[in-house]
Each structure stands twice: as structure tokens, then as C-alpha cells.
Assembly symmetry: D2
């Protein structure tokens, strides 16, 4: 374990703490004091004891831990949505992705993690306080070198172009749809997160009018179970709603083309789903039977 | 668009087809014949018409499309589980991850995508037919150079060590738990997918006995909505179950240590959940209130 | 078993058939012919064999079976919604309840069952074909004597008054809200079923404007599990959506009263839910933490 | 409003209080004092003001309110499960139903409500404190005359026979299965509520061994939405689990009959569900596609 490495400590009660390793440091917990030197000596995958003898797990944080550990002034996106949109947007090593707003930088952290050193995350945030907080969070986890932070409102468009994908987590995304074609590659997958159905309806109208295709709307639910083998049951309560995910492809309109809003593909999946057939027979699974 | 590039075509009815681009080729669909030359001329983000004049969307497949397009002889994992486990396991550029069984290679494809050229996926499959099918699927999407395929049963253990993470999608994972510590780094996150609650109970017992920590069990549900702005509603039917995800950290036992099965952390999250409080106050959000 | 009694037969494959008992009759199934005489001789709780020797369960249908067995030309309400609204509306022996539209009479059947011989169901249906079908369904299960069927559009209001409760399963319920106060007792609970979020928003506006109180919106999901003890798991697919249930109390406006739309109670539950506290401390559990 | 009538009061913040009406009485709330005389003068469907001028809704409680208002020393069943099991068990006016354990009497209250004055609820509870509490709750809502309370353990069987339906909400129902045939009519529907999957597996084994048929397992989820028309969205959190409902028919074994456990019907629905086809085509909808 080297100075500056991030360390995740988990208490006997399951509380989680994340720190940068400093052999001189010490941590004060409800279970007593832990010397960082002891943590370093124990090493990852072992336990360090507080001065009261309580064992703390010493672990290397995964991306899930990093996202949960983000210092937040805003509601951050949940791993359940982040994991899914990564696949839908096709984020991976070498990708360039545009995001707005940055917020506390939870999604930015995940995007930066996956684009790798050969990729790039460009993130727009109009509020300076969030812009600075996100920068702090990115430096803390050592991913800031993969991110271009822009402290600017996107109402006048994006400064960048040729992105492989784009994600908007803003209150009125329909106001910025017109700026997307100039910012992304033709056909790029674009994603959106919205809390209310009224917003989803307004966004879908805007996407149809702008000729976006292959529209999808979904919500993702995670139900945790109590990990007790002889009394296995779900937790009593769960998060019932964070937001609706919307995805669409940004198309290049053809000169001779009829208005997109009349095109069938947007409507078709509606008819298909009830049948609930498996995608086996097809060359590629229809997205709506995809999970 | 270059020869060999993967192209996703979406029909007016929303059916999805994936092909390797070949300017000489032609495709026969229910809507008529499409010349690959026309597809290439249209380019990504535009439409190519069949000889009957039906417009097909021409798109670059995202990872989600690649996974759904996997030729399968087995039930493949769904993006909803794959996206989530990537974050939990902390898979990213440069990672080394061990997987078994390979099956049709759906998860293998996703892992190979995310570890990048600097990472490595080592995947074990005892059945030769699946082993070969997965190889074919990986070559098709151009990710085979990041994968080490092993056509072998893991009952005698893994040939590799020092993996950053491990995932088992096998019928009786509890039989192989004892081989995991030798295959992964201390404290590595391990994941499992199981369809029945009986299997989950048996696995949890084995993980406790083997001293694994920070056990979690969850299920992920995706509910698709009809993307019709003026008649917004969920689809009539949904996938209700694919499997339960189980995660745990592989610990290094201390010589003086009491049996792990008696340790509190496994039980604690049970008590915490009902309270349903937000993780804001903590150094890092408790996983179970994390989604 | 007496002539005219309803009998439920369940095949070895789990298919369900409902008939009126007639000792002379015979039934032709995929498993062969069954003589009603044999069914009568076996009696409820036993098995009758087809001429091919296949055993069919002979059972007395429960209300759930009667509802599922309704001959339908319309989508009928599902037991999951019916059971819940019965409690919310307080339907029971002696109640008078108004319903519209009748549709195929699925809900009407349930309401008639529960109001008993001392209660009354008044059901409005403008389409004559549905009106007749529902009548046929009610006579079939012997509940028609508890029901007053009205073949009439409710746009001009209801002919009846003093109902204990009212339920509307119509496409544009907001158009009829103004007629409700004259039809029900002061404070009566009113229920609505709507498939889309757009309709729910429009109804909520109308209810607020008309001074209805204690508004609630919810959806009910039933997840079936495979009843296999050693391989216990949920079914692969489930019904993801039938409709949203909306409930509200029909208030009598006070002369001096400020416009209802500004009243807090409608908004309050919004703030309360996230806390997720149990209702124990209260004199009566708040409905929204009630399930 | 007459002395002794139950009155539900709802505060501006949505808190719910239930009282027996007494014109002399007064209520002390966080919003100030309310005179019962004012409540009576206002009448149902109107508002009564506290001495601080805060308006409280004056309503007649529905069964849902009565159940939620039960004074509890135990976890009471939720309306979502109660409403559904009423239909499954076919509880209605004139029915005789056996229940155990009584607990705080939440389900007993609902059963007593629905069987009417011509029906009967027989409820067993071994703990005297619960037995007394439930009696108090039943008298409070005026339904005790329809209930026979038995303060006795059911390990030696039931004192009653010929019940139309039976419901067990006990920790180890499999221990009492053998006593059910003597207590109910042939083919009677029996229901069970269990919190863990381990218990469900054990119960299913016992039911198969005892020759019960038409086994079903399900869980019911209610998701509440914020009733805000212009910002329509689900509540942030929900109850994720109360228990699993199990239903089965109590059959009369034939002398010549092969062991029930080998019979196909129990297994069949497993195969059927994935197809997810609508029940339209059948004489009666298959239960598992029924919601």
C-alpha cells in the first residue's frame, strides 16, 4: 500500500469509510482509533483493529465504492443507472463522451474510469460551486487527467464536436436537443435521466421533432436481499425511484426526408412488447426484450 | 465505413440486424433487399432504403448491441446485470478478471470491452462446444485478443493468480470457493449469478465458512416504458427474473482469527435497511442504501 | 353438487375450465372426454378422469376464478387491483356502490359478490354490447340480482345518489368529476383506474379543482414464483403494467372555503414518504407507508 | 354522526387519527385542540377547525383505514396482501373462514368485515396477550360479534370443521398441514403468508406431500406515486417486502391414488409462464397470467 492509495475501511457494523493512505495518519471511528500504519501493515484483504480491538476490513475500493464515496452537494446518480447507461452508450477505453451537468461528479467519475487514458470525458456545469466540488472529487480519486471540465451553461451549445456519446442529466434537456447534432458523431447514442413523467413526455416530443431514432424509456430497480442463508428474504424497504432513463440515436436528416415524428420505428416497440417473445430468432435481440 | 466494421441496421418495425460491412454484400430482409454499398454510402446516422423503399437506420453498434447480438446456445447474461457487476467488481482499463463459465461469451464480450488492450480476461469453460462458440463470438466483435480462453473444468482450481476480480456464473459455485483465494489478489471483489434462492442460501453458507466478507445479495429489474409522449405508460410485460447477484470480498484469514461465520458484518446490513436513511452523513454510502 | 352449480376443472397441465354442473353433460378436452356424471360423483376436492384416464381436479371456483372466467370483449380488471380497491373503497355487505363503465363485468362481479344480498351495485355502461355481455356474465355466476345495470353514458350525470363509494374505469374520468358529489355520500371514497401517466396528471388536476381530498396514486405489481421447493425462483416474466389506481375523498365545499387546489394535504404525502418511517407512532397509519 | 361512530380525522399534513365519536369529547393535536362537537356539526365530508384554525378533514373510515388503525403489538398484514387473499380464498358474505394466528387482529378485522352477519370467522391465537389485544381491536370497530376467538395452540388441530377457507400466518405452517383436511370442506382454498424463501420451500414440500393441489406462490408490491400532476413520479422509497403468499387446494385423497407429489399440475405452471401468453383463449384464465 503506497502513500496516496485509496483505502476502504468497513466497520463491524458495515459502515464504510474511504481514505487516502498516509502511514503517519490515524482515523477516529465510533469503534475507537485506527492507526494508518496498522492499516498498511495489515494490507488489503485483511483486518486492522482499533485501539478498542474492533476489527475493520481493509479493502481496495472498487468503482462502486468510489461513486458512493463522492462528496455530494447534489443527488448523485446511482450505480444501477450508471452501469446500465455505460453499456447503452457504449462507453469504453478510448471513447470521447460529453456530459452535462457535472453536479458532484459521480457519473463523471465513472465515465473517466471507463474511457481510460486513451479516452476523454468533457463535462459541462454552469454552477461554479458544483464545478469546483466535482474537480475536487475527481482529483481525490486520481481521474481528473481524463476529464475536461467546462464551467458553462449549454444553452448556447457545446464547444466540442465528434463525441462518441452524450449524456444529459439536466432539468430541461429538451431545450438543448438542437445543439446535440453538432457535438456528436452521426448516429451517436444519447442518454438522459429525468425524475418525472411530465419531463419524459416533453423530452420524447423534442427528440421526435429533432429526428432522433430508436427511442427507449426505462426505469431500473435494485432490490437488495438480506444475506442470511437460513432466513433469506428481501430487505424491508428499497429505493422505489431515482429517475427514468431515456436513450435515443442522433440521426443526420436526409434532404428529401419526411418529418421524423411520423416515422414508425418510434411507435413500433409499443406494439411488440406485449407479445414478450424472446429475441433468439433475430439477428440481434430487440432492445425492449433485452432485459 | 470500412470493410469488416460492424453495422447495426434497424427496420421500420424496430427489428435489429448486425452485420460486418462488406461493400459487395447484400442483405435480404422482410422489407426487401438492401445493398451494403447503399449502407456504406448512407453512412452511420443515416438511412439506407431496401429495394422496396423501406428505410433502415444505419448505426454503429454499442456494447449493448454487441451483447444482445451474441450468437447463443445458452441463456446469456442481461445488460442490466452486466452493467451493475462491472461497477461492483471495478472492472476497467488495465484490469485482470477471471470468469467461469464462458457460456456463449456474452459477459466475456463486455469484460473484454472494458479491460481494454492493457487488461486481460481469463475465462474458463468446460464444454468444448461453448468454448468454441464463445471464441467465434469474440472474434466476430474483434475482442478476442484481450481474452485467454481455457477449455477446462475449474473443479481442480484456476491456472491463474493475482486477478483483480472474479465472476462465477456456474450452477454450483460453492464447490469452487476454496480455489478463489489462490486466483485473486487479497480482498478482491467476487461476483456470482444464481437463478434460485436455494442456490443463494447454499452459496452464502459457503462464503461465510470460507471467511468472505461484505456479502451482498440483490436482484435487478428493468421496466421498459412505451416511448409515446402523449400515452406514456410501462410496457405490458417485463422480464421478472434472470438471477440473483451475489457479491463478496475474498479475505486473507489471520492466523489468530475466530471463524468468520460468527462475525457480525454479514448480519449487520439486515438491521440497517429498514431505517432507510440516506447515506449522506457517512464517509461513504452504505451499499444497501446505494440503489 | 347440484345442477347449475359452477364447477372449476383443472387439467394435469394446469389449464382451468369452468362449467355449470349438469349431470347429463359431457366435456371435451385435449385430454379426452369427461362425463359430468363422473365429476358429480367425484365431488369437490377430488379428481375426475377423462376417458383417456387423465385426472382433472374438481373444485368449487373462488371469486378469483369467477373473475378470471369472465367472458371478455374488453380488458378486464385484474384481481390484484380489485382486491386492493375493495379495501380502499370499504366495499362490504350492505354497501351501495356506483361503477362505470361496466365493460365485461369483471369488477361488477367482484363488487356484487362483496355487497351481499343487503347491498347494491349500480353500474353504468354506454355501449349496448358490453351492457349485454356483462349481464350474461353476472347471470352465469348468479350475482345479477344484486346489480342494477344502466345502459347509459354518464356525461349527463348519474341517476342515483347516496352511494357509499364510486369507481370509474373510463378513458376520461375528469369529464365526469362534477357529477360525483350528487351521486355519493359526503366524504365518500372514489377510485379510478387509468393506464397512462398523462391521464393520471389530468385526473389529479380535475380532482384538486373539484376540492377532492386525500388524493393517492399507486400501482400494484404481482410477481408469481414457480412453486418448486428445491428450485425456488420467480417466474421469468410478469405483467409489468395494467394501470394506475387513483383514490380521493369527495368533499362538501364549505361556503367560506378557499380554493381546494391550494390546500396542503394533496402535497404533503410527497414530503413524508422518503423518510419511510413506520406508522406505529400514529393513531392510524398513514396510507402511503401502509404497504 | 352518532355517539360511538368511528371518525377518521386527517390533518393538513396528512396525518390520520381515528376516534369513536363522543359529542362531549375533545382531541389534542399538534395543530391545536378540536372539539368533537365541532366535528359532529361539520359532519362527514367536511372540515373541522382546531382552536388554531387548522382545518381537519372529517371522514368515515373505510376498511383500509380500520386495518391501518389496528393497535398492534405484532407486524400486521398489509392491505395489499389482504385484498388479494380475499379474492383467492373467495371470502364473502356468509363464508366461514378459519385463521391462525390472530396476532393483533388486522386480518381478522378484514375477514369479519367481508363475511358479514351471515358468516363466521374462527381465529386461533396461542398467546393470551395477542388474543386479548385482538378482541379489543375487534370490539373497537364493532366486528367482534362475527368472530369466534380461540386462545389455543393449533398443534393438536382445530376444534372446528367445514370451513370454506383457511389462512395461516404462523412461523411453521408445515407442522399443521395434517390438521387442515379435518377443518375445511373438500377442495377448500388455503392460504399462507411467510417472510423467507426457506420457509416457502419447506411449506411447498409439506403441501405436496399432503396431496394439496394447484399450488401458487407470489409476492405483491405496491408502489405509491406522489399525487402531484405537474411533477408526477413514484415515491422515493417503498416497502420492498412483507411476505410471500402461498395458496393451495386441500384435496381429498382417493384410496387408489398415486402419491400426489408425483403429479404434474404442481410443476406445470412453471413451464407455462415464460410464454407469457394471455388467457383469452382459455375457458378460464390461468392464474399465473392472471395478474
Amino acid at each position: 500500500m503506497e502513500t496516496g492509495d485509496l483505502v476502504l475501511l468497513i466497520s463491524p457494523k458495515g459502515k464504510r469509510y474511504m481514505y487516502k493512505f498516509d502511514p503517519e495518519g490515524e482515523i477516529h471511528t465510533n469503534d475507537g482509533k485506527i492507526l494508518m500504519a496498522d492499516v498498511g501493515e495489515a494490507g488489503f484483504g485483511r483486518q486492522a483493529k482499533t485501539h478498542l480491538g474492533r476489527p475493520y476490513l481493509v479493502l481496495k475500493p472498487t468503482l462502486h465504492d468510489l461513486i458512493k464515496g463522492v462528496k455530494r452537494q447534489t443527488q448523485i446518480m446511482y450505480p444501477k443507472e450508471i452501469g446500465y447507461l455505460l453499456l447503452k452508450l457504449g462507453i469504453g477505453p478510448g471513447c470521447t463522451v460529453i456530459e452535462s451537468g457535472t453536479g458532484s461528479g459521480g457519473l463523471t467519475t465513472a465515465l473517466a474510469w471507463y474511457v481510460g487514458d486513451t479516452g476523454r470525458v468533457i463535462t459541462y456545469e454552469r454552477r461554479e460551486d458544483f464545478y469546483k466540488l466535482a474537480g475536487k472529487n475527481l482529483r481525490r480519486v486520481g481521474l481528473d487527467h481524463r476529464v475536461t471540465q467546462v464551467n458553462k451553461n449549454i444553452e448556447d451549445g457545446f464547444d466540442h464536436s465528434g463525441a462518441d456519446a452524450l449524456f444529459l442529466d439536466v432539468r430541461t434537456p429538451w431545450q438543448y436537443i438542437r445543439h446535440i447534432p453538432a457535438a456528436v458523431n452521426p448516429g451517436a447514442m444519447c442518454g438522459f435521466l429525468l425524475p418525472t413523467t411530465n419531463q419524459v413526455s416533453e423530452l420524447l416530443h423534442a427528440l421526435e421533432d429533432a429526428g432522433f431514432e430508436d427511442l427507449e424509456v426505462m426505469e431500473i430497480l435494485v432490490r437488495h436481499w438480506k444475506p442470511v442463508p437460513d432466513r433469506l428474504r428481501p430487505d424491508d424497504r428499497m429505493v422505489a425511484h431515482t429517475g427514468f432513463l431515456v436513450f435515443a440515436r442522433c440521426m443526420q436528416p436526409l434532404p428529401d426526408e419526411e418529418p421524423q415524428a411520423d416515422e414508425p420505428p418510434v411507435e413500433e416497440p409499443v406494439a411488440e412488447e406485449p407479445a414478450g417473445e424472446e429475441p433468439e430468432g433475430e439477428e440481434s435481440g430487440a432492445a425492449e426484450s433485452g432485459e
